[in-house]
């Protein structure tokens, strides 16, 4: 996982509430067995016509999306399915952070485990960011994970929450699995104190 420290970037606005993971990566692209080519599946049915032609009116096909690292989403971003293909595809396109007022729980966890930072801002700051990109599509904001701040071009800084564990993992770019593996003696002790009530390997 690539570490996340600080980024400064334009924002790509997507002013829709409850953007679901089915629209982020449609299910027909989930038949893959690896993580290759995820970029081409991102927002597939909003981005491309049936024949694969990019739709010029969709924001990700506009020049302002090129090189942008921040997606400014509507409320409750990433709802629906648990598919981790959604954050994989967002990252493959080049996004490193998504801003919203709230995120669906599974999407939130999946994003953090892949180095994609979900940034929760209060509703007034969220509205201000949409006004900002409407006035100036090239306006850049800075997201600094260490100080947990999002800074607007006018210097106004907004704090965002993240649990310290996920933050440290992101800053260092380390996989959370290492931490669980280190707890092995405690897991073993738990298992001997709590015998299984199911044995799925038993022939039925």
């Amino acid at each position: 996982m690539e570490p996340f420290t600080k980024i400064t970037s334009r924002m790509v606005p997507l002013p829709m509430d409850n953007v679901d993971t089915d629209i982020i990566v449609p299910a027909r692209f989930l038949k893959v067995t690896d993580k290759a080519n995820m970029e081409q599946y991102l927002f597939r049915d909003w981005r491309f016509d049936s024949d694969g032609t990019p739709r010029p009116d969709f924001i990700l096909n506009q020049p302002r999306a090129k090189g942008a690292q921040i997606l400014l989403g509507g409320r409750n971003f990433g709802s629906g399915s648990s598919r981790e293909h959604a954050p994989w595809a967002l990252l493959a396109f080049g996004f490193r952070a998504i801003i919203s007022t709230s995120f669906a729980d599974i999407f939130w966890g999946n994003s953090l485990k892949n180095g994609l930072l979900p940034v929760v801002v209060p509703p007034d700051a969220h509205a201000e960011l949409f006004r900002l990109v409407e006035r100036d599509p090239d306006a850049s904001v800075t997201i600094d994970l260490a100080s947990q701040t999002l800074t607007l071009p006018n210097g106004h800084a907004v704090n965002f929450p993240i649990d310290n564990f996920s933050k440290q993992c992101l800053l260092a770019g380390v996989d959370q699995l290492g931490y669980i593996l280190k707890q092995e003696p405690r897991v073993r002790a738990y298992e001997s104190a709590h015998p299984a009530t199911v044995q799925t390997s038993v022939k039925i």
């Binding site: 299910a27 038949k31 049936s50 709802s79 485990k113 959370q176």
Partner: protein, 474 residues
Amino acid sequence: MAGTMASQKPQTLIEKIWDRHVVVEEPDCPAVLYIDLHLVHEVTSPQAFQALREKKLGVRQPSRTLATTDHSVPTHDRSLPFADPLAAKQVAQLGINCREFGLPLFGLDSPYQGIVHVIGPELGATQPGMTIVCGDSHTATHGAFGALAFGIGTTEVEHVLATQCLLQRKPQTFEVRVEGQLRTGVTAKDIILALIAQIGVGGGVGCVLEYTGSAIRSLSMDERMTVCNMSIEGGAKAGLIAPDDTTFQYMAGRPFVPKGAAWDAALQEWKSLPTDNGARYDKTVTLDASRLEPMITYGTNPGMGMAITATIPRPDSLTDETSRKTLAHALEYMALEPGKPLLGHPVDVVFIGSCTNSRLSDLRAAAGILKGRKVSPKARVLVVAGSQQVKRQAEQEGLHEIFRAAGCEWREPGCSMCIAMNGDELKPGQYSVSTSNRNFEGRQGKGGRTFLASPLTAAATAIHGCITDVRTLL
């Protein structure tokens, strides 16, 4: 035993399960939560197995793991080859992974194959008080047994395979109290659609729902699974119901449940699970079941639902701009006119199936409406049992003959047109009434338009080829 001592703080069902599964919780870190049962399917697992290979890790507890193929499997005659080589490869890969890592697989050759959330309970692998996870957001289904069951991503699938644990933060508790008696033609599906319409698709974010109240207690296990299944559609990762005699009667004698003295011991443990008197929830919402009508969705998320007799809401009635844009976009996608009723709206396909509504009682309900009737020649009607066991039971009862005589397709078990990965899909612009759980854009096929409803409403709609209030046929 937790919760029985007077000195102890009264606890909710959720808190009891949580506390009994925390392996360790260090300061400033999430809890390491032990996972009792890990369900695996072909779609969200291949990259996790590959990561294990790369890290030279094995599966810690193969006998707490249960794999099946459901999402991308064809529902046509099983003796025919897959039409889609990618799907074939994905299904074959699960077989390779299960052999390599020594995991039990209920694959296409198994008499117990089926949708992962149907077979877990029917095999007795799903038990009260357990923590259950699967790389699938409808894992909440297993909450019907009083288990803390939730969907996870592929990285977490890898974590559980390797360690049988997950890093988790304690969720908030959200009581959904449903009192009163359902009226004729109104089902468990209508309870959950009404709840989501009320709290919205983000209403349960950060929470685990506990369904309580007389209306919930009187539901069968199949019906409880329908309710819990769609907890995620209200934004909650999990939703559960305290186990009771209905639960224990369902479980008794199933293949993976404890036997003999172990059953008695388990029963005692399970009976300690229900929420203590005086325990507090972080949030509560109440629903009056006796006032509910059959529900149907009109938009592109499960929160966009209404009583079947209501009219489609108007975006211009919303004051918030993004809400207005979101609803307008949804109605444009659905090609529906604000202010109009949905009753009588033509449909091209009716889908009866999915982890929400593909169990025996769902099929019986649909067959009850279709018996002696014909489906509209304008509609294609697919009936897809949730598992091989459900299919066999339905056939023993002759339900398949009722469906076929009415003009329905009786297909092999799988997720089928709920997620449209297997070739069962809507064509662009087509409308369906579906007993599944998601009406997202393109969910049932690119450009397809979905109305979510109960098996009763789906069967009634199949007969007329347009959205129909089942109460007119009862």
